[in-house]
């Protein structure tokens, strides 16, 4: 049964069809089941008992980017992305099955049946490296694309995890602020240079950084309706962060950031509410809290910016990264991207499970990047950055996607 708030929303949808103009998947498919309105109708039929969960419905409900573009533009305030997530949860409850059988996350859980706790599993998952695990399990066979494409889109796990390479504290003498850094899985395992950039920028601005023990933020579980797993991970993270004496909790991953903001609703705990108030995206932190000054050299490289879905709706989430990039002038010359806030199609594991559709969505991004004439496309979410790099390569483009913080770090003279 859908929660009350979503049942009420169901009534609000007037089937006006306005979401057709905003849903990236409707643009590609032209089919109603893949637009917000169709999903609302299906949910209503599920609620009314006219439909029961089956494979076809599971497939339809897995085909959503959760990008929130429909919700943002709905004249009636219907939040379909949240309803889709609630429906996925409903599906898991009804069938005890994941939203799509091919879900990476679930397969890892299944494959590692001998590991007793999820915590252990994640430690294993993190230590062994995603790629190795994936190859070993034969999961790769499940995805619909060619082997070469699979190999390229899967993250190349860095030799040494970020959190194993850096001390748990930067230890400054007289820091003006203290922050805890939630690194997220991608920065930790795939792009440690992003984490190094965060440390460099914060240290050079006299901010002490603590990197506590931490787990995955839980978004893969949340997005596929695995609420118990998501709650477990959220509670673990809260446990490790709550006793810290810090002013803020910063993150470079827009997705982790938005997940942390949902912890209070997920856990319904006072600790979670308190901590959520401290959580801050690194871009917003640098602009609104530190108001950092930069003195960049003149390189005159054109850079543009892609809005991650999980950052753009936060106050300051659109302006802060742009503000930072503008402060990098003349080192980087900022140009705005057409349709900068359109989803890149990454959406967690969507780019694996629905590879072709995801690439079609991404190609609009690649086109507008080409039109911008930028040499670098910056963003603020490691998953978007991986997706952008993959699809840029697919199209033979020379443009590179990087995290904003990497560009900022480049413009700071290192004291070492």
């Amino acid at each position: 049964m859908l929660e009350k708030q979503y049942r009420e929303m169901l009534n609000k949808c007037s089937r006006c069809g306005g979401c057709q103009a905003h849903c990236p998947l409707y643009t590609e498919t032209g089919r109603e089941p893949y637009v917000a309105r169709g999903k609302v109708e299906l949910i209503e039929n599920l609620q009314g008992g006219n439909l029961e969960w089956n494979d076809r419905l599971a497939e339809i409900f897995s085909t959503c980017l959760l990008c929130g573009s429909c919700s943002e533009n709905c004249p009636n305030g219907v939040e379909v992305d949240k309803m889709v997530r609630a429906a996925r949860k409903d599906l898991v409850a009804a069938r005890g099955l994941p939203i799509i059988k091919k879900n990476v996350f679930q397969h890892l859980l299944k494959y590692n049946g001998r590991l007793k706790t999820i915590g252990k599993l994640l430690a294993f998952y993190q230590k062994s490296g995603l790629q190795k695990v994936l190859r070993g399990t034969g999961i790769l066979k499940l995805f619909p694309m060619k082997l070469a494409e699979k190999e390229r889109i899967l993250p190349r796990i860095s030799g040494k995890a970020f959190r194993d390479s850096f001390p748990a504290k930067t230890g400054l003498d007289n820091p003006k602020l203290k922050v805890a850094y939630f690194t997220g899985c991608v920065t930790n395992l795939v792009t440690p240079q992003v984490g190094a950039s965060v440390l460099k920028v914060l240290s050079s601005n006299n901010v002490e950084v603590i990197i506590p023990v931490q787990y995955c933020c839980g978004v893969p579980a949340l997005a596929s309706g695995e609420m118990e797993v998501a709650k477990f991970l959220a509670a673990e993270n809260i446990k490790y962060f709550k006793s810290l004496d810090v002013d803020y909790i910063v993150m470079d991953c827009a997705t982790c950031f938005s997940t942390w903001l949902e912890y209070p609703e997920l856990l319904k705990s006072e600790d979670a509410s308190q901590l959520a108030k401290k959580v801050m995206d690194i871009n917003i932190f640098l602009v609104e809290i530190l108001d950092i000054k930069l003195e960049p050299r003149n390189l005159g490289i054109k850079v543009t910016y892609h809005d991650p879905c999980h950052l753009k709706r936060t106050p300051g989430g659109k302006s802060s990264p742009r503000e930072l990039l503008k402060r990098l002038s003349p080192c980087y010359e900022y140009v705005e991207l057409e349709l900068a806030d359109r989803c890149c199609g990454s959406a967690g594991s969507f780019n694996l499970t629905h590879y072709d559709l995801s690439q079609k969505v991404a190609m609009h991004k690649v086109d507008s990047i080409a039109n911008s004439k930028a040499e670098i496309v910056a963003s603020a979410c490691p998953s978007c950055i991986m997706q952008l790099n993959h699809s840029l390569q697919n199209s033979g483009s020379k443009v590179e996607a990087k995290h904003v913080i990497e560009l900022v770090a480049e413009c700071i003279e290192s004291d070492e």
Partner: protein, 456 residues
């Protein structure tokens, strides 16, 4: 549906353009109303020839066909009545030609109206019809419903821009009507007959529309009135002074209250009406016209008037109007959008009657709409899960229609009859008029294949 027939359909359009799963068909059971009807099969034709083959098959197998565009209709026009085929035209979405010399565009029916606007405006041309759904609705749907929009008062409705059509008849033959000229009196005016035929007389497969040069400047005024009659008088005087605003939108007190509650724009809650007027044309003309409007408003006791000419400032004034749709559904979730229309001079009287009806049936009934052409949009805001309330809604709707007709108006200004207004059609057309419509339908669609159960 018979497996054999499904296979024949698949042979015509290809398997990727046919949907048969229950879960998918349910997603083609609705439009912008709360009516429902699930098709047996959903088909996406890619060209005229495929449409012809489908219609021929439907005739030989006696299966009803329900043409559908984007499904934004507000009268249930695309909703399947007795199962049958949902014929979705969205795949035929090419703009075939924009001709700057002949001032016309040729498009396929699935082209989204807003896309056509963008493309012609790039060339400094203008396609005026602007239904509020323009970002999603299709040109085919616009022709079939003869859609209007806020600009209709100055520029006219869809019908005034259609030069010619290619149509697949209900028996599966291809017919061309009209042409590429503004003047054309050869034979009956079939283009006009098909425009507004709601998918019952033919499937539109190609559309030729007239374009005009794009007006260069716009100026906007937002005017607040303490008294509804003053607002109505202002409208009349503005027009008799020779100013034809491109937009002339009215919001009543209930609408103002909803918008203010939602947006906190600082709108006065004790005002009886707000008028939003926009003039377009050359710089000199718009300056002169907005001055005339200002003077008239002042003479007619407006409380406050704000005028804007830059894009950003104009957008600020539009904010209240744009916020209406989302604001009113905060009252209750179900919106029943009516579009009964009255002669302009009867607007204040109609609004008074609407208020009486709202009080009588204890319903939320904000009124906002196109004051220039009397196309008020009384919206009943209710809760469709409340049976008792929906019964009151039904009674109120029928009294609204009665009132509009009594004042010399019409049941529908732009949304069409579909299934929603079917029961009332005879009130307006009379027995003879209704019979005339039915005779035409029977003559061109002897097997009653195309969109049966609609209009009458």
């Amino acid at each position: 549906m018979d497996k054999k027939i499904i296979n024949q359909v698949i042979n015509i359009v290809g398997p990727e353009n046919v949907l048969t799963d229950n879960e998918e068909r349910i997603c083609y059971s609705y439009d912008g109303t709360f009516k429902r009807g699930i098709p047996d099969i959903v088909v996406f034709p890619g060209n005229t020839q495929e449409v012809v083959s489908i219609i021929k098959l439907a005739n030989s197998e006696k299966i009803p066909v329900f043409p559908r565009g984007a499904g934004t209709g507000l009268s249930g026009g695309s909703i399947p009545q007795a199962n049958g085929i949902a014929l979705v035209m969205t795949k035929m979405n090419k703009i075939k030609e924009i001709n700057e010399n002949d001032l016309l565009a040729v498009v396929e029916p699935g082209v989204i109206t807003g896309h056509l606007h963008q493309e012609v405006e790039k060339l400094n041309l203008f396609y005026p019809p602007d239904p509020a759904s323009l970002k999603t609705c299709t040109m085919g749907g616009n022709i079939a419903e003869n859609a209007g929009g806020p600009r209709a008062f100055k520029y006219g409705v869809t019908r005034d821009y259609v030069l010619g059509l290619e149509v697949v008849t209900p028996t599966g033959k291809v017919m061309r009507t009209g042409g590429r000229t503004v003047k054309n009196v050869t034979g009956y005016d079939l283009t006009r007959l098909l425009t507004g035929s709601e998918g019952t007389l033919g499937v539109i497969t190609e559309i030729t529309v007239r374009l005009i040069p794009k007006p260069k400047y716009k100026k906007t005024a937002l005017v607040i009135f303490d008294n509804l009659d003053d607002a109505a008088k202002t409208v009349t005087v503005v027009i008799s002074e020779g100013v034809i605003p491109a937009t002339l939108e009215l919001m009543d007190r209930i609408t103002i209250a909803c918008v203010e509650k939602n947006t906190k724009l600082g709108l006065p809650l004790d005002a009886e009406a707000i008028l939003l007027m926009e003039v377009d044309g050359s710089d000199a003309q718009t300056t002169e016209e907005i001055n005339i409007i200002q003077n008239i408003c002042k003479k007619n006791n407006c409380r406050r008037i704000e005028v804007a000419s830059t894009f950003e400032e104009r957008e600020k004034l539009w904010k209240a109007r744009r916020a209406v749709s989302s604001a009113i559904v905060q009252l209750k979730p179900t919106k029943i959008s009516e579009d009964a229309t009255v002669p302009r001079s009867k607007i204040p009287e109609m609004i008074r009657r609407l208020r009486e009806i709202a009080t009588k049936y204890n319903l939320n009934l904000p009124v906002f709409g196109h004051a220039g052409d009397g196309n008020l949009h009384p919206n009943i805001i209710a809760d469709k899960s409340d049976k008792e309330e929906m019964e009151r809604v039904e009674k109120a709707v029928s009294e609204i229609f009665e009132a509009a007709l009594e004042l010399g108006g019409t049941l529908s200004g732009e949304h069409g009859v579909g299934i929603m207004k079917k029961p009332y059609l005879e009130w307006e057309l009379g027995e003879v008029g209704l019979e005339y419509l039915k005779t035409i339908k029977k003559a061109v669609d002897p097997n009653n294949i195309l969109n049966p159960g609609k209009i009458f």
